[in-house]
């Protein structure tokens, strides 16, 4: 067994990241025109309810079959080879971010003895901003998903706060606001 090394510490993304981290195709998890694609986005708020204009929101998700084109998904991808699965959107001066994506499929639960145990469709989310020294991790679930009722992560959260993890339908897409702090504080996770 080799020596274990300490992770390099996280530091703030700072106020001036946009010229380094903004990609023209960042918000496009899938290209425009992809069948079933929709916009999902919202506003990032601080503890005083003020929009955060210097945050960057990143998402990571399975393809619509619930698979990842990645060596650590033993099943791999079948229909969605080269699906990027990743989105990145810096917030605008009004604190808004927006991504174009498709709905992921449900995921098998690791080590699952129970065949019908699944994580409901969701996006993993990282939030970085000036003022935060570490990444904040949250999840976006979808409204009107029956699988939400059985999702092992959602059901582990206090029911009063669970709704902070569920997007609102805003046809033709979804809205997911992120409250860093305060009365409506979003549920954040440690991994």
């Amino acid at each position: 067994m080799s020596e274990q090394l300490q992770t390099t510490p996280s530091q703030t993304v700072g106020p001036f990241f946009s010229f380094g981290l903004v990609w023209p195709d960042g918000p496009f998890v899938v290209p425009e025109g992809t069948p079933g694609a929709f916009r999902i986005g919202g506003t990032v708020y601080d503890g005083a309810g003020v929009p955060v204009p210097d945050a960057v929101v990143e998402t990571w998700q399975a393809d619509p079959d619930g698979r990842f084109d990645h060596p650590d998904d033993p099943r791999g991808a079948v229909r969605w080879k080269d699906f990027r699965g990743f989105g990145r959107s810096a917030t605008d001066p009004e604190g808004r971010y927006s991504l174009l994506t498709v709905k992921p499929g449900p995921l098998p639960v690791a080590g699952g003895a129970v065949e019908d145990s699944r994580e409901a469709p969701h996006l993993n989310v990282s939030v970085f901003c000036r003022g935060m020294l570490v990444r904040l991790v949250t999840r976006i679930y979808f409204p009107d998903e029956e699988a939400n009722a059985e999702d092992p992560v959602l059901t582990s959260i206090d029911p009063a706060r669970r709704r902070t993890l569920i997007a609102e339908g805003e046809p033709p897409g979804y809205r997911f606001d992120i409250h860093l702090q305060g009365e409506h504080e979003t549920v954040f996770f440690e991994l």
Binding site: M1, Q4, L5, Q6, T7, T8, P9, S10, Q11, T12, G14, P15, F16, F17, S18, F19, G20, D46, G47, A48, V50, W60, A62, H70, P71, D72, D73, P74, F86, L107, P108, V109, A110, G111, G112, A113, E119, H122, N124, S126, R130, G131, M132, L133, R135, V137, R139, V153, I157, R161, L180, Q181, G182, E185, T186, V187, F188, F189, E190, L191
Partner: protein, 240 residues
């Protein structure tokens, strides 16, 4: 049928700053108040975007190129390796870097520091690690810059780094500092890392072997991403 057994990643919270660190003033209204909930590491956590060559242009590893002339300042080379917590190289992973120019000014509309912009310097680079996890880029030494956190506050010179590794768990945004900076003691961002050894790991070292004669000073900085837990499956393999 084999049970699906993921490679989970070891906890690394003690290396990182706390979520709440009020000495960094803009943290006060942005740090969550409620404790974090535990997110089990399943497929979506142990996988992550594998962003490769398509994201890097021909001059992206040399921040002194791409303009009409050469930027002002001390030319430097920053090189090192990206490793996981077991010392294994992280190959083919994207690094994104951004920084202030030699005068301590960012090419960003919100930067009001009255120091000159340099028409020959933007301050953005991208590189992909090779099979041994090595990266290298050329730039100029960034200047320190003032900010309004406290009276006479100055950020030590630094380069911002963003890395993906191979899993959502390994995502890291950090800053690299330069050795012996007299501004460390008063910087709450640097000192938000409470473990002295972890703090020291953010400081590059000057390296004569990386230094190119009559051209550029060399700095070495290795970056460590989260390491994996051993899996029961791996232990079985070892027995064979």
């Amino acid at each position: 049928m084999p049970t699906y057994q993921p490679h989970t990643y070891r906890p690394d919270t003690p290396s990182h700053p706390p979520a709440a660190f009020p000495e960094y003033r803009s943290n006060v209204l942005r740090a969550p108040h409620r404790p974090f909930e535990l997110l089990p590491q399943r497929l979506g956590e142990i996988t992550g975007p594998l962003l490769g060559e398509g994201r890097v242009g021909p001059h992206d590893n040399d921040l002194t190129l791409g303009h009409d002339g050469e930027p002002q300042g001390q030319r430097i080379i920053v090189a090192g390796r990206v490793l996981d917590g077991d010392g294994r190289p992280v190959a083919g992973t994207l690094l994104e870097v951004w920084q202030a120019n030699a005068a301590g000014r960012y090419r960003h509309d919100a930067d009001r520091h009255p120091a000159p912009l340099d028409p020959n310097f933007t301050g953005v680079g991208r590189v992909i690690t090779d099979a041994e996890g090595r990266y290298s880029f050329t730039t100029v030494q960034p200047g320190a810059y003032p900010w309004r956190n406290h009276d006479n506050a100055w950020r030590p010179a630094h380069i911002h780094f963003s890395l993906f590794g191979t899993a959502f768990t390994q995502r890291l945004i950090t800053q690299m500092y330069f050795p012996g900076d007299p501004l460390f003691a008063q910087d709450p961002i640097f000192n938000s890392v409470r473990d002295p050894k972890a703090r020291e790991a953010m400081v590059a070292r000057f390296d004569l072997d990386t230094t190119v004669p009559e051209w550029a000073l060399g700095y070495r900085w290795d970056i460590v991403l989260r390491g994996k837990n051993p899996t029961p499956l791996e232990e079985e393999d070892d027995d064979e």
